[in-house]
Each structure stands twice: as structure tokens, then as C-alpha cells.
Subunit: 204 residues, 2 copies
DNA sequence: GAGCGAATTGAACGCTCGTTCAAGAACGGG
DNA sequence: CCCGTTCTTGAACGAGCGTTCAATTCGCTC
């Protein structure tokens, strides 16, 4: 294996962590270098500039969505609706684990980069789309348990909305309860949808 | 009127706009100075440092919540539930008006400032609390139209969640439709709650 | 209009940032 | 073992940042 690839991996992993905890603008190249024990030349040998590190980080999130986030959350959970809440529970765990300082890496970057160039913005959007796609699969699998007139794509996006909004409030107030109440409201929403579908089956 | 107050106002107004469009870290003191046609000394005569400008901006948002945001949105709307969606419609208008680059100033700052000091974080939280409080009033006013077992505080927070999540996705995808679908899902939620309350009145 | 504190001027400072690059080390095929 | 390529070293640079401050002007009071 080429050593440059190893260097690249080290940089991307360090940058993922730093961009997550400190944000993109507040993370300096020096931060990445001291974390990886590399020199500036090595980084610039692999990446043309700081923004290209960001792009690599966003690609890593995109490519690792299932491996690093979704599959672990769904382990041992088979019911498609419960899988949605299992994923949200994973975020709850992250919030608690970080003493309520957790912010969704993609969400934070999306709001921080106000005038992101098209490549970066596309990658942010693609990350959201991938996340929503995972939820969408659950909803499709739930099939007729949901009312037929429900827009499943919109509902999947609404799950992301709940997660991001809940994370934002939990972090700002330094209190998971804000996240929990958001998830509870979403649970109410699903309960009402499931009840409506059971009451008026698709056979009508 | 003391000239320093005028200077202060000019700085706060310019900073509100700049922090909103560029973010806090990406806005330089020089940006504020060129926007206000002031010199560095004048700014530092009024504010000890950049962070104090941020604090003043957050206080301005807090103090102007009703005057600048809520009251205009509610003009001509009397029904408490419709007022909630009127406020969301106001955000929709902001998104469209800014070509889908709009981000909620408070939400953006909340996610950008990863290690904000306590004063700043408190002000961010207070701004959220104020916004949620305005929604809460509507829900209280709606009274028995909502099921008695509904946690009105949590529901008000859920409205904020929907707004922030919708704004985030609309901006990232550069498409208001993401916001619209989030609001539509929230409307569904309210419709189901109202129907449930009508079905099983509080008199039980 | 003299006197004085408040407010403004704008050049300068020290620091950190992203980036560059000439020099050297490590590696691998023949 | 040699040579060309790939990768690393780390000092240096220029630009931009937040901040300072001695000098100056403004505006009010008596």
C-alpha cells in the first residue's frame, strides 16, 4: 500500500474528528498536523488545499453511512419502524456521550459554510439524501402499515428534520431532554399514522 | 442622544446582518467597520471585543423577537393554530427572498459556535426559549382544541424543530420544497391532534 | 470662549492562518 | 547498487486577523 494513502487516511480521520468538534473554520491546518504528527508538506503533497480535505471528509461520511452509522444502529432491530427510532436512539447516545455538546457533523457543516462552493454543497446535500434514503427504505418496508396517502419521501425527510432540530436544541440548552421530547413528538406522529392506516386499510 | 449610542446601534445592526449572511467567525472587524464607515477605535470604544458585539447582537434578537418577527407575521391572523403556520410562512418567505440561502440567525450561530462561552450560550438558549414561548402561547390559546394529554411545551419545541430542520435542508439543497414538505408534515401532525381532541372531548 | 471629558482617528502591532518550496530521505525496478 | 520517482521535512512567507493607543476632534458646561 502506498504510504501516501496511509497519510491520506490519517489526515481524513483526524479532520473528521476536528471538523466535528471544532468546526471547519476553527480547525487550522496546524491542528490537523499536530494531531497526525505530520508535516505541512506531507498534507499538501496529498491535498491541494484545506478545502480538499473537507471534500475528502464529506466523501468519507457519505461512503461510511451504513458501515459506521446505520448498520450498527440497526443491529438486532428488525421492525422497520423501530429501526427509525433505533437510529435516533443512536444519536441520543452520541449526545449523552459528548455531554450534550454533540452536533451532527453534516448539519453543523451545512450551517457553518455559508458560501460553500458547489462541490462542497453537493456533498452536504448527498449526505442528507443518503441519510433520508436509509429512513425511506424503512418506510417502504413498513408498507401498508402506513396510510397509502402518506408521502413517504417527505416523511423520511421529516425524520431528519426531527433529528437535526432536536440535536440543535439539546446542544444549545445542554440538555438531552430537548432531543427526547422531539423524538417523543415524532413517535406520536407515527402512532397516529399507524392508527389511521389500521382504521382505514388500503383495501378500501 | 449620546453619539456613542448611535455608534453602538450602527455596529449592532451591521453585525446582525453580517453574522447572519457570513457567520460569526467569517465576519471580520474590518467587515463591520467598512459597512458602518467607522474606525476601529470607535468600535473598541463601545465594545471591549468582538465577542461583545456578538452578545449585543443576540440581545437585540432577543429583545426584538415580537417587534421584528412575531407581530408582523401574526398581523391579520387571529386563529392561534394558524398563527403558528403564519410564523412558519414568514420563514418560507425569507428562504425564497434569499434564494434559498436563508439560515435562521440563531440556529446558524448555535451550530457555528462550538465552544461558546456561557454568556453566549445562554443568550442562544434564551432566544430559542423566547421563540418557543411565542408558539406556546398559541397552543395555550388553542386550549381544548388540542387533546388534554398533549405536552404543549414539547409541541411548541417541536414546531421550532420543524422550522430549523426545514430551513437547514432547504438551504443545503437550495430548494424551498424541503421546507414546505416539513411544514406539511407538521400540518398533518396538528390535523391529527385536532381530530383526536374533537373525537374524544376533554369532558370525558 | 475656555476647559474638559467623551468620542474618533488611523497607523501600528503581534499573532495565526493557509500555503509554498528547496532540500533531503525512502523506496523500488532493473 | 544505482537511479528515478515518490514522499517527507520544516523553515519561510505574505495576507488577514483582533486589538491597541497616542494624538486629535467634538460637544457640552460654566
Amino acid at each position: 500500500m502506498s504510504p501516501a494513502i496511509d497519510t491520506r487516511t490519517k489526515i481524513v480521520m483526524a479532520a473528521m474528528d476536528l471538523f466535528w468538534t471544532k468546526g471547519f473554520n476553527s480547525t487550522s491546518i496546524a491542528d490537523i498536523l499536530s494531531r497526525t504528527q505530520l508535516n505541512a508538506g506531507s498534507l499538501y503533497h496529498v491535498f491541494p488545499g484545506k478545502q480538499d480535505v473537507l471534500i475528502a471528509v464529506l466523501e468519507a461520511y457519505r461512503d461510511g453511512l451504513y458501515e459506521n452509522l446505520v448498520d450498527p444502529a440497526w443491529e438486532g432491530v428488525d421492525d422497520p419502524v423501530e429501526r427509525i427510532f433505533a437510529l435516533l436512539a443512536r444519536y441520543r447516545w452520541l449526545i449523552v456521550e459528548t455531554d450534550c455538546t454533540y452536533g451532527c457533523p453534516i448539519g453543523s457543516l451545512a450551517l457553518e459554510l455559508h458560501e460553500a462552493d458547489p462541490v462542497v454543497r453537493d456533498l452536504l446535500a448527498v449526505n442528507f439524501t443518503g441519510w433520508v434514503g436509509a429512513i425511506r427504505r424503512c418506510l417502504d418496508e413498513a408498507g401498508e402499515r402506513l396510510p397509502v396517502d402518506v408521502d413517504k419521501q417527505a416523511l423520511a425527510e421529516f425524520v431528519l428534520t426531527t433529528m437535526e432540530g432536536g440535536v440543535m436544541q439539546a446542544r444549545t440548552h445542554r440538555d438531552v431532554a430537548y432531543f427526547d421530547r422531539g423524538v417523543a413528538a415524532l413517535r406520536d406522529h407515527f402512532d397516529m399514522l399507524l392508527a389511521r392506516a389500521a382504521q382505514r386499510p388500503a383495501m378500501a
